[in-house]
């Protein structure tokens, strides 16, 4: 009598097919694999080094706007990295204050290159990781845009990263990039687009809802500000340890007052940034820069700037660098 094998041919064929698809996807999306499952907490995700060049890429782990620079800074060129979140990121590299900075510096007769390392949703923890890695590429100046509206998201993604890398079997299927991509496609392209928002919000575990709940909890802003304070301190120390000056930009929010008029609110961030100032650490208040202008026209919403707002910020940053002597000292 013929005995059955331990693994049936059908199961074996299915498994081989799965492995084949997985390998094909991994080869096809090789660039996308950098830090794929670290939720932004990978130390070097998105920084791809190739033949003396560093490419900032939109990978699974960190979604930079694509830019390239040399590993070693060009002789006589002032290199600036701008680390931040969606405010820094802007609608394009060219229109963001990070991208304009080089243009503004060149207009002042200073040879410069500036790079936008802003990633939407990144809070103090993930900004710190990006900053620490960027210091390896010897910038002449680092700009750190601090904010406190992404701390919930930062914490959530940190927990997800920790959970995902735990041993629990429920995470095993998603470690396959092929399954992961199907899942993400289903979630982002189908679930979010085909199911009305009110149904999603009333039934699914919705990130936006969870954030609203977290924000309404007592002392949330205080706790998040404390974290921003600690991590901004660590970031400035990391820069100073490499003798690289750092400019901390404190975010300002476009808020509605009780009398329906608009006002700028720093949400405690000015105090945090100011407390870090010392030799080599500067502070630029977004509130102070914009409140003397017609700021309502410079914002697209509560936090984000229009292109005109970015232009105003880049001019103010350059002025700050000149006033503080950082640019003239170097050049």
């Amino acid at each position: 009598m013929k005995s059955n094998p331990l693994i049936s041919r059908a199961f074996l064929f299915g498994a081989c097919l799965m492995i084949g698809v997985e390998l094909a996807v991994r080869i096809s999306f090789q660039d996308n694999m950098s830090g794929r499952f670290e939720y932004g907490f990978h130390p070097s995700a998105g920084f791809i080094e190739e033949g003396g060049q560093v490419h900032l890429k939109r990978t699974g782990g960190r979604r930079f706007r694509p830019q390239s620079f040399t590993v070693e800074p060009p002789e006589g060129v002032f290199r600036v990295f701008v680390i931040g979140d969606s405010v820094t990121r802007g609608s394009s590299v060219e229109s963001s204050y990070a991208g304009r900075l080089a243009v503004e510096l060149k207009a002042q007769g200073i040879s410069a290159e500036s790079y936008n390392l802003g990633i939407g949703g990144h809070g103090a923890r993930r900004k710190h990781l990006t900053l620490v890695h960027s210091l390896n590429y010897k910038p002449d100046l680092v700009l750190l845009h601090i904010n406190n509206s992404n701390e919930f998201e930062d914490e959530r993604e940190f927990l997800r990263s920790t959970e995902f890398n735990s041993w629990h079997p429920r995470n095993w299927p998603m470690k396959s990039i092929a399954l992961r991509r199907v899942y993400e496609m289903k979630t982002e392209k189908v679930f979010w687009k085909w199911i009305p928002a009110s149904i999603r919000m009333s039934q699914a575990k919705n990130d936006a809802d969870a954030e609203i709940v977290a924000m309404s909890s007592e002392g949330a802003t205080e706790r998040w500000n404390q974290r921003v304070r600690e991590l901004t301190g660590e970031s400035t120390q990391a820069a100073l340890a490499k003798q690289i000056p750092i400019l901390v930009i404190s975010q300002a929010y476009n808020m509605e007052s009780e009398n329906q008029s608009r006002r700028l609110d720093d949400n405690g961030l000015e105090n945090i940034a100011e407390s870090q100032t010392q030799k080599g650490v500067l502070h630029l208040s977004m509130k102070q820069v914009l409140e003397n202008l017609d700021f309502q026209t410079l914002y697209s919403d509560r936090s984000h700037l229009r292109d005109e707002g970015h232009e105003a910020m880049s001019k103010a940053i350059v002025q700050k660098l000149i006033d503080s002597g950082i640019v003239s000292l170097k050049k």
């Binding site: 005995s3 059955n4 094998p5 331990l6 049936s8 041919r9 059908a10 199961f11 074996l12 064929f13 299915g14 097919l17 799965m18 629990h168 079997p169 429920r170 299927p173 998603m174 396959s176 399954l179 199907v182 899942y183 289903k186 979630t187 189908v190 679930f191 687009k193 085909w194 199911i195 009305p196 009110s198 149904i199 009333s202 039934q203 699914a204």
Partner: protein, 526 residues
């Protein structure tokens, strides 16, 4: 301990390995331990109920067959529920508390069993003794089922009725928690005792074997409701190892998880919206979409559960009964009930409908028998008026079919007539599901009126959600098409191995990418 949990996976894996490496005599003890461990995970206190049911049916089964046990053994068994609850109370297992009243009730089981055993055992007539033990077993266990499942419902209904007459129902009632699986294991036990009484089977002398029959963990919580003639022999003489147990078991698990995680949980998103309390946005499109989503949710949920149960049991060499066989391909209500929850419908047929006289009597008697069986089947699902209405509705459909020769002929005629029957049956089934899913009669009224509301100002667009529904029922329908030639929905044996492998891969991908929602199985509440 849900089937969709790591704990269950560990339990099943451990049971699988230990079962096959253990000597055969030890296997039944292993299954007993695993089953009680599984039940304890829900609530340790409910184990006392399971022990009480097992003891009653075991002793009464022996009593019917005139195989008396010693008073010492009866005492030991009848003390089990009380001792268990006392241990729960002393050690505060799972932090559960047990009140003194409950402890007294549990320990009073001993004098009841001893007294009844002595009283009934002394009966001179064999027929009287058999009936006595039968009614003792039914009385105690249907009493427990009635108390735990229906007490709140009847108390609330009586309270409502009293208030209708302008009187105040000021009594305060303790909310009774429904022990999981009680409806399933009670029915399984009834089939055992009635079959002994009808001399279809011999009772088992081993308490552990009988307790395992009642508590066998893959089917304890939501069936299939097994018959003693099928399951007991497999427990008494465990199967020999064969690799096909592993292959078939894994395939059933894969198909079951696909139905539950991919089909049911994703359809639930739309069904839950339409049947949310006082939803004012229901128009014709949404009413149809919601009930269609629920039809596939409940099918995916329950048949998925059944496949997981069958797969788990098969890994242990035990074959459980088929519970579903393409129910939505039915052309008439009679066929629907031969395809939907087969083990429950055949149970009601064999233990309620036929004993009442079945269709052998007059027109009126047949209608009465159908009505009783179906209303009880509705009530079995839950203590609510909507379930009673659902049972009555299906009774009406069965009567209409039974006494409509044209309908019966149409189901046997050409393709066009069959297609018309199928479309009609789908519509009737969906109306039934709307009754079943509604939380109250008022909600069913809202849904029903919504069916005729073509335009509702606030209604959301429905085209994209319809696509979502199609995306999740399409693969299920394709799977059903692929297995239509087989007796078992999950069998793909007639396909080439490469085709089977490809289907397994697709099922795995669909399932793995849907493991986000964490929805409980619907039938766990019954």
């Amino acid at each position: 301990m849900s089937f969709v949990s790591l704990e269950y996976g560990c339990l099943l894996l451990a049971a699988f390995i230990l079962f096959w490496v253990s000597p055969r005599p030890w296997r039944i003890r292993l299954l007993f331990a695993a089953s009680y461990l599984f039940y304890m995970a829900w609530d340790v206190r409910f184990v006392a109920l399971l022990l009480a049911s097992s003891t009653t049916y075991y002793l009464c089964g022996l009593g019917i067959a005139n195989r008396q046990k010693s008073s010492g053994k009866i005492t030991a068994l009848a003390l089990l529920p009380g001792v268990w609850l006392a241990l729960c109370s002393i050690f505060e297992i799972q932090g559960r508390t047990v009140s003194n009243e409950v402890l007294i009730a549990a320990f009073s089981f001993l004098p009841v069993m001893l007294g009844a055993n002595r009283l009934i055992g002394k009966m001179s007539s064999d027929q009287g003794r058999r009936k006595g033990f039968l009614w003792l077993a039914l009385g105690i266990n249907l009493g427990l089922l009635g108390f735990f499942k229906y007490f709140n419902f009847f108390a609330d209904s009586v309270g409502g009725l009293v208030e209708q007459f302008g009187l105040s129902s000021s009594w305060t009632l303790t909310h009774i928690i429904l022990p999981v699986g009680i409806s399933f294991y009670t029915f399984q036990a009834i089939s055992y005792i009635v079959d002994i009484k009808n001399k279809k089977i011999e009772p088992t002398d081993c308490f552990i074997t009988f307790a395992t029959y009642l508590a066998f963990f893959p089917q304890l919580i939501a069936g299939p409701i097994e018959r003693s003639t099928k399951l007991l022999p497999q427990l008494i003489a465990p199967a020999k190892w064969n690799i096909s147990h592993l292959h078939i078991g894994l395939r059933l698990l894969l198909v079951g998880f696909f139905k539950k995680l991919f089909v049911a949980d994703n359809c639930a998103i739309l069904a839950n919206h339409v049947f949310a309390a006082d939803n004012p946005e229901i128009n014709t499109a949404w009413a149809f979409l919601g009930v269609l989503a629920f039809a596939f949710q409940i099918y995916g949920d329950f048949s998925g559960y059944s496949d997981i149960a069958r797969g788990s049991a098969r890994l242990l060499g035990i074959e459980l009964s088929l519970n579903f066989r393409f129910p939505y391909f039915a052309l008439n209500p009679s066929e629907f009930w031969r395809r939907w929850h087969i083990t429950l419908s055949t149970w009601f047929r064999d233990y309620v409908y036929i004993p009442l006289g079945g269709n052998q009597g007059t027109w009126g008697a047949t209608c009465r028998n159908l009505a009783i069986a179906m209303v009880l089947a509705g009530l079995w699902h839950g203590a609510a008026w909507t379930f009673i209405l659902w049972g009555a509705y299906h009774a009406c459909l069965l009567m209409a079919f039974h006494y409509s020769p044209r309908w019966q002929q149409a189901c046997e005629s050409g393709r066009a007539a069959k297609l018309a029957c199928w479309i009609g049956m789908c519509g009737l089934t969906l109306i039934g599901w709307a009754i079943f899913r509604s939380d109250s009669m008022f909600q069913f009224y809202l849904w029903f009126t919504g069916v005729f509301q073509w335009q509702v100002t606030d209604a959301m667009e429905w085209e994209k959600p319809a696509r979502w529904l199609l995306l999740h029922i399409g693969p299920l329908l394709l799977l059903q098409w692929a297995t239509l030639k087989e007796r078992d929905e999950a069998s793909l044996d007639h396909h080439h191995w490469a085709t089977r492998g490809f289907i397994y891969l697709l099922l795995f991908v669909f399932t793995a990418t849907s493991m986000v929602n964490d929805q409980e199985f619907i039938y766990f509440q019954f």
